[in-house]
């Protein structure tokens, strides 16, 4: 076993530096563990690496849904990538996706924190009722949520009636804003639950001590609440980003990506290319871009959420 100490410790000697740089988990590795990990590796290869590799390959072919290239298709090199680079609709779609995800993250965080902190102070019965209603919106299928928001935000809908603008068609006037709000609405329940649980775990002594020191509400939030909520917030951000990136149903129901390309997020553009325009290979390539984006979010999460020494 490697000696456990620190550079600042009292153990002295010529091997101190070498000992410190030595991996402390090395002795824990045993060759027999490879055999035990084989089933997990196998599943990883069969269920993830092979399908992913095949999807990457499909993205570099000319496969179509119907037509001559649906029967005789093959590898076309970087042709689809070159097309993707010059595809202005793809870049528009990427920006729209960014706006949709960014708006959703901010909205879900703010609304989730706001509701959770309000419910902390609410009477128990109110906590149950409001919490229940918000959670129902989270549990609602994308089709139902989409239809609800579609009906509410088009001309003569509930939103216009409530604010005295019955003849305004909010959905077609501000499509990206409305679909983002719908997404925020459907995901706030999850955010509220997670942030609420984290808020309840903040030690009241820390807050009381800050109050004794005359810290303002903003100071208490910035210096105590926010740092303690940081891991939870990061988890919410990551999951909101990933779930929003895959939220095809909501927008498909509400706008089908329109008007024009105003709400054409990447999953919709991928679907449109694969099934409306028959370009299965190009649709798969756009799907691969989404996988890359999801990977970036994952890596960011791992780096940001890693415990600091």
């Amino acid at each position: 076993m490697t000696v456990m100490t620190s550079p600042e410790g009292t153990v002295a000697g010529p091997d101190l530096e070498r000992l410190w740089k030595t991996r402390r988990d090395r002795d824990r590795f045993q060759w027999s563990s490879l055999a035990l990990m084989t089933p997990a590796f196998g599943l990883l290869i069969i269920l993830f690496l092979i399908p992913m590799g095949y999807a990457v390959y499909l993205g570099l072919t000319n496969l179509t849904l119907v037509g001559p290239d649906s029967v005789k298709w093959g590898f076309t090199g970087l042709q689809n990538l070159s097309r993707l680079r010059q595809d202005s609709t793809f870049w528009t779609s990427l920006w729209v996706t960014g706006g949709f995800i960014g708006g959703s993250i901010v909205g879900v965080l703010v609304a989730g924190y706001w509701l959770a902190s309000l419910l902390m102070r609410a009477r128990p019965w109110m906590r149950i009722v409001v919490g229940g209603v918000v959670v129902v919106s989270w549990m609602m299928p994308a089709v139902t949520a989409g239809m609800t928001w579609y009906a509410s935000t088009t001309q003569g809908g509930a939103l216009g009636t409530l604010i005295g603008m019955r003849n305004t068609n909010f959905l077609d006037s501000w499509p990206l804003v409305i679909v983002t709000l719908a997404n925020i609405w459907s995901m706030t329940g999850f955010s509220m639950l997670v942030i609420g649980a984290a808020l309840r775990n903040i030690p009241s002594e820390a807050i009381e001590a800050a109050m004794v020191e005359n810290a303002s509400a903003w100071q208490r939030f910035r210096s105590i609440v926010l740092p303690l909520l940081r891991p939870t917030m990061i988890a919410v951000v990551l999951l909101t980003a990933l779930l929003s990136l895959a939220n095809f149903g909501l927008i498909y129901i509400m706008t089908q990506g329109g008007p024009g390309n105003a709400t054409n997020i990447l999953p919709l553009y991928s679907y449109q290319q694969a099934f409306s325009f028959n370009n299965l290979a190009y649709g798969a390539l756009i799907g691969n871009v989404m996988v890359l984006l999801a990977t970036v979010f994952g890596v960011l999460y791992v780096r940001v959420a890693a415990p600091r020494s």
């Binding site: 399908p51 095949y54 999807a55 499909l58 496969l63 179509t64 849904l65 119907v66 037509g67 001559p68 649906s70 029967v71 010059q86 595809d87 202005s88 609709t89 994308a142 089709v143 989409g146 579609y150 088009t154 001309q155 003569g156 068609n169 959905l171 077609d172 095809f248 149903g249 498909y252 129901i253 509400m254 706008t255 089908q256 990506g257 329109g258 008007p259 024009g260 390309n261 999953p267 919709l268 991928s270 679907y271 449109q272 694969a274 099934f275 409306s276 325009f277 028959n278 299965l280 290979a281 649709g283 798969a284 756009i286 799907g287």
Partner: protein
């Protein structure tokens, strides 16, 4: 035909993998004929939710066909394969069915898909059967409909029914606007003049319905803007060499017409035009409520008002509504698109004879007319347009649209058309949403989109 639209998750990779695995079985065009004595099973795939005006009517029609076919051919069992979902979903699922090693023997699909399926090697040439047992009904088709399924001199699909378009108008509203009846506009300018008169006399009424935007899928354009393009100076969508037209005098005239309609506040609101809920059928409810003056719309609107379809049931429609042909831009006749649903036989069918016998049964007089009435089609056999069972089902609309069929023209059937039609719908939608968008700006946007999607070599400009 009613458009029902469904939502499916974008399982692009999964579907692609499924399709590709299914495809590994390969394509063989071997067609054999089972012996008359052995019991064989043939199958027919069709859209369960989109073809007929209501789902129960579709179930009833297909059930009756199955019963009659099996009575007539006791050695053959007919397996029905209803494919659920809106039209885009149906087309996707049908394509995946044909990638299997054992695709359906017979298929009912939109005419715009024929060339794609034929070029995939999925369809059997029907010439042999059409000059034999199918001659009785096929010879009565007008030439334009006979040619619907003709590719390279061979016929691969036959029409089950057609959709064409014209003008519907509310007689009472036009009368209040001082427009003499019966109304038949001679030019597009006449339509605009009438719409302006309606706006002045009845400010709460939508003066003119012309479909716009992408919400109804490719068919939305077929029931709307493409009819105007068909009556413009340059109606060409795809040249003989296969290039898609992205700039022409006709396109500009058509988009300028849209600009006039929406800039002058004559069009329907975007909440209706962009509705995900069956936009091409909205005129039938608006007319019944008395909130719409004129509509460029499809033949099936008349059938919507019958008790059997009830979308909505409006018994006074036959006297309250008038029908007119959609004039060409400067007169000289009418214009309309023609799009239909067709029957084809799989090139992999195990019993082509039995498969064609099924088509013969479906094309019998009663079945063809029932399908036309219940699906909102004009039957392809010309003599049926005036017989009472068809003409009286939705009088006077059915017969009037039968007469207009002669001035209708087919839509292209190619993979590139789906991109082009998306672009023209985006262009019309842009004008409807921002009426300050000029026709030239919308055409430029369309040109940019199609060129971006298909590449410069696949598009062309016409004078």
């Amino acid at each position: 035909m009613r458009l029902l639209r469904g939502a499916k998750a974008p399982r692009v990779i999964a579907a692609t993998a499924l399709a590709t695995v299914a495809m590994t079985a390969g394509i063989s065009a071997t067609v054999s004929t089972a012996s008359a004595s052995s019991k064989v099973t043939i199958s027919v795939a069709y859209a369960a939710d989109t073809t007929f005006d209501t789902i129960p009517l579709g179930t009833k029609w297909w059930g009756a066909v199955k019963k009659e076919f099996q009575q007539k051919y006791p050695n053959v069992t007919l397996k029905l394969i209803p494919v659920p979902g809106g039209e885009p979903d149906f087309l996707t699922k049908l394509a995946l069915l044909f990638k299997q090693s054992n695709p359906p023997d017979v298929v009912q699909f939109p005419s715009t898909e024929i060339a794609l399926y034929q070029s995939s090697g999925y369809l059997l040439s029907l010439d042999k059967y059409l000059s034999g047992s199918g001659k009785t009904w096929f010879s009565q088709y007008p030439t334009v409909i006979q040619n619907e399924g003709k590719i390279g001199g061979k016929i691969y699909a036959v029409s089950a029914g057609e959709n064409n378009n014209g003008i519907y108008y509310d007689k009472a509203i036009l009368q209040k606007a001082g427009i003499p009846l019966p109304w038949q506009p001679k030019t597009w300018a006449d339509i605009i003049t009438a719409a302006k008169a309606i706006k002045k006399a009845e400010p709460k009424v939508i003066p003119l319905w012309v479909d716009a935007g992408t919400s109804a899928g490719p068919n939305g354009a077929g029931y709307g803007i493409l009819n105007l393009l068909a009556g413009s100076a340059t109606p060409t969508i795809q040249t003989a060499s296969g290039k898609m037209v992205v700039s022409s005098k006709g396109l500009l005239q058509t988009l300028d017409f849209y600009h006039t309609v929406f800039a002058d506040g004559l069009g329907a609101p975007t909440s209706q035009l962009f509705s995900e809920n069956n936009a091409p059928n909205i005129p039938s409810t608006d007319f019944a409520k008395g909130t719409l003056g004129i509509a460029v719309a499809a033949n099936f609107i008349g059938g919507n008002w019958t008790k059997m379809v009830s979308f909505p049931y409006w018994p006074k429609a036959s006297t309250a509504m008038g029908v007119a042909g959609l004039p060409k831009i400067n007169g000289g006749g009418y214009a309309s698109t023609l799009s239909g649903w067709d029957f084809g036989i799989s090139s992999k069918t195990k019993d082509a004879e039995a498969a064609f016998n099924l088509i013969n049964v479906m094309q019998e007089s009663k079945n063809m007319i029932d399908a036309a009435n219940w699906a909102g089609w004009v039957p392809p056999v010309k003599s049926y347009w005036s017989i009472p069972t068809y003409a009286n089902f939705a009088a006077p609309f059915n017969e009037e649209f039968g007469k207009l069929l002669a001035s209708s023209s087919e839509l292209p059937t190619s993979a590139n058309y789906s991109v082009w039609v998306q672009a023209i719908e985006q262009a019309s939608g842009a004008i409807a949403q921002s009426p300050s968008t000029s026709g030239a700006a919308a055409m430029s946007q369309m040109k940019s989109y199609v060129t971006n999607q298909l590449g410069p070599s696949a598009v062309t400009t016409l004078p």
